[in-house]
């Protein structure tokens, strides 16, 4: 079993750091952790004093190592590798994409106040060249593998999600599906209709959440525009580079009929071929940048889901409050006999005469029960709403910081890619110029 939540988070965060290091490098350099002797100094966790020097430390290395195509259902499977100090769990597991989807759906339902990390795209979108649209394309499969690994790392390093038991089952057991179904989360899924009607009919949603929702819409729109434009640019750039390959062919043929110019032309032609070939790697690398943007395109969806959950919980609270108020009014009418609002019962009373006092008593008693239930319900729903708002706000702040950091890094890595491309261009054309000088 696991130790306290605080401790586990620390372990899994550790796993993330471990993975970022190169394989084979010593792990001791990382913040004083992971010794072989099982004894560790934990970073100060004041609310958990008994963990200092705790005995069992689990080391969890999460990586999505391979993809294998299983021919039967044309499914692509991912292999995960784990190493445990205690060796009580399997070293590796196979998981299908659909299992990742199942895990994620479970997390969304179970933690509606968390911006749940997204999965990589199931099908290739925003393709810059028709070839890449194939889901079986090895480059696409590889990028999806990276995306799945990224998903797991994000979940495993999340302060709340990392503690989830089902996540642990997913990572360690063959029979995790039974476990997740046992949670009965599928029954808790909010119906889309309810969610939609909440959006329209809610009266006092938290302003901050409405702003967030608006932000998520805009984020989605801008990132998809950017991705589309980038794909078109990539397509055109591909064309420019590839046409230069024709120079290679013609220069080679032409050099055959020239004496003085021949050598220079021929070698220049080779550089033109190299130039044309270089675009493939350049654009493949750019796909990783696109993937980073796509992740946040999907994150926008997750953010919106949290806002919608707020709308729903607010709406349900409003409905419950409304219902309680109306029931209290009915009670008042019944006891005082004063009809404040129109009611069918009131009308029939007027028309057919008032009911018998026994019936009135019965009805009053029922109402009192209902009111008591209603008050409980309102209390519950108020708590639900408050908790959701509080937790969601915390996670949305966390998400915002993460997003700013990640996207800034992505932009920087994009600039680095551009620089690399420019350097290659300088090299090729510099070489070509040397060849031309020999003409």
């Amino acid at each position: 079993t696991l130790n306290s939540t605080c401790c586990q988070w620390w372990y899994l965060r550790d796993a993330v750091t471990l993975l970022r290091m190169r394989p084979g490098s010593p792990t001791t350099s990382v913040e004083g952790m992971m010794a072989q002797d099982g004894r560790e100094e934990l970073p100060g966790t004041d609310d958990d004093p008994e963990n200092t020097g705790s005995t069992l430390l689990r080391r969890m290395e999460i990586c999505v190592a391979e993809a294998e195509k299983r021919s039967g259902k044309n499914a692509v499977n991912m292999q995960e590798t784990f190493t445990h100090a205690d060796k009580c769990s399997p070293d590796s597991l196979w998981r299908r994409y659909s299992e990742f989807e199942l895990l994620r759906n479970y997390l969304i339902v179970t933690y509606p106040y968390i911006v749940v990390p997204p999965l990589p795209e199931k099908r290739a979108e925003f393709v810059w060249h028709k070839l890449s649209a194939d889901n079986m394309d090895p480059d696409f499969v590889e990028r999806r593998r990276v995306g799945l690994e990224n998903f797991l790392l994000r979940v495993a390093s999340h302060p709340v999600l990392s503690n989830d038991k089902i996540l642990y089952h997913f990572l360690t057991e063959h029979g995790w599906k039974e476990a997740v179904c046992e949670t009965g989360f599928q029954a808790k899924v909010d119906s889309r209709l309810r969610a939609l009607s909440a959006t329209f009919r809610v009266r006092n949603p938290d302003k901050r959440f409405m702003e967030m929702k608006h932000y998520s819409d805009e984020l989605q729109s801008h990132t998809s525009q950017l991705l589309r434009a980038r794909a078109r640019v990539a397509d055109r750039l591909y064309g420019v580079y590839k046409v230069h390959g024709n120079y290679g062919r013609v220069f080679s043929e032409w050099s055959a009929i020239e004496k003085e110019m021949g050598d220079g032309l021929q070698s220049a032609g080779h550089h033109m071929d190299a130039y044309a070939a270089s675009i493939d790697d350049i654009l493949e690398e750019e796909e990783h940048y696109a993937d980073q943007l796509k992740e946040y395109l999907s994150y926008a969806e997750a953010l919106r889901a949290v806002c919608r959950k707020h709308e729903l919980s607010q709406f349900e609270l409003e409905m419950a409050s409304q219902d309680l108020i109306s029931k209290k009014q009915q009670r008042e009418e019944l006891t005082t006999g004063i009809v404040r609002t129109f009611s069918f019962k009131g009308m029939t009373n007027k028309l057919f005469g008032q009911e018998a006092p026994e019936q009135r008593e019965a009805r009053l008693k029922l109402l009192e029960e209902l009111i008591a239930e209603g008050e409980e319900s309102v209390k519950e729903k108020t708590v639900e709403r408050e908790e959701h708002v509080e937790r969601a706000w915390v996670d949305m702040q966390r998400f915002k910081e993460q997003k700013d950091k990640d996207l800034r890094e992505a932009l920087i890595s994009y600039a680095v890619m551009q620089i690399s491309m420019c350097k290659k261009g300088i090299q090729v054309w510099g070489n070509a110029k040397e060849c031309f000088l020999k003409m």
């Binding site: 120079y247 013609v250 996207l407 420019c422 054309w429």
Partner: protein, 419 residues
Amino acid sequence: MSGQTVPADFSGHMLDLDEDEDLEVFSKNISLTDGNPEPNSPSSMVNQYRLEEDDEQQHDANAKDIFITVDNPESHVTAIETFIMYRVITKTTRSEFDSCEYEVRRRYQDFLWLRSRLEENHPTLIIHPLPEKFVMKGMMDRFNNDFIENRRKALHRFLNKISEHPILSYSEHFKVFLTAQELAPHRKQGAGFLSRMGETMRAVANSVRGLRSRPEEFTLVQEYVEDFSSKISCVDKVTQRIIKEDREYLDELKQYGPTYTQWAGLEEELADPLKAVASCVDQCSKESEEQINHLSEVLVPTLHEYVLCAETLKAVLKRRDNIQTEFEAKNEALASRKVDQEALQEEVDGLADRMELANNALKGDWPRWKNSMRTDLKSAFISTAEKNVDYYEKCLAVWESFLLCQKVEPSEQRHGEDI
């Protein structure tokens, strides 16, 4: 036109001064057709034999005694038509010219006249082509500014190529073209329409008859010209295609940058880096535009001219063949006929001389043309490569300054090492 005359040979006068190079300016190039005395400056003689060397440009710069510019296109409107007149300015120290500076106005038709006169007088010399009359695709308007500017540049190059040719630059027609205020009276003289018709008909008759035996060297030239023609056309087409793809890339780039700016409007922390990326993309677009313009202005016109040269070469070879055929035809007639032997013999001798002159002219001009082709294309390719390096260097600087603004240390870069 002033009455000054420049002495034929300054060399004796200038020997007192410093460099031999000053002498070169005033010495004359030897040409095959006019019987000018050999220049008695030893270094200028040395220069004659250095024609084939790589630093021919150097030599030309030293020996150049005529400078021509074509500029200032202006619209001329008459009752019948509208056309463009170009200003042609000549500066020269040559003795055949009465003055040292001339300014005349010429239209495209005048250039056509000059070239056809030159072709007539020197049927087997390789004469630089003129820009085409009309452009096939795209431009409908003869008075489009780009079209006029491209034509002006090509006309400028044409006249300069003629002036650099050791034989053609001493042509009387060339001189008249450069100096006469009114060209019209001169255009009426010379071989007329009928004689040209006659020549065409003879050429047709000869081609029907066929060539007996073409000298080996001209067969080699023929084979080369066919191959060269197809290769240079291909290079031309590839270059045009590159420009097309480049333009489409530029169009997309112009739409791509703004997506970053629009997104920046939504963000707080990210606004600055997003806007910075947009600015980088924008700057790179500008560089890309410049690079495309360079291709259009430098490589494309050069390639295009050599595509036309290939056609000129084919025509020259054909004319040479015809001259040989005419001689052979008459020669055979001489062998078979018994009467009029003397008259025929004279004719045949004349045709033989003509053939020999034609062959020698081509033989001499061929290496000169090949070298000129190599130099021109080499220079155009080098210029293109340099511009591409420049383009990438500028874009590199743009993105590096972005990294600097984001305060990224080189060690933070993920792909720290270059390939």
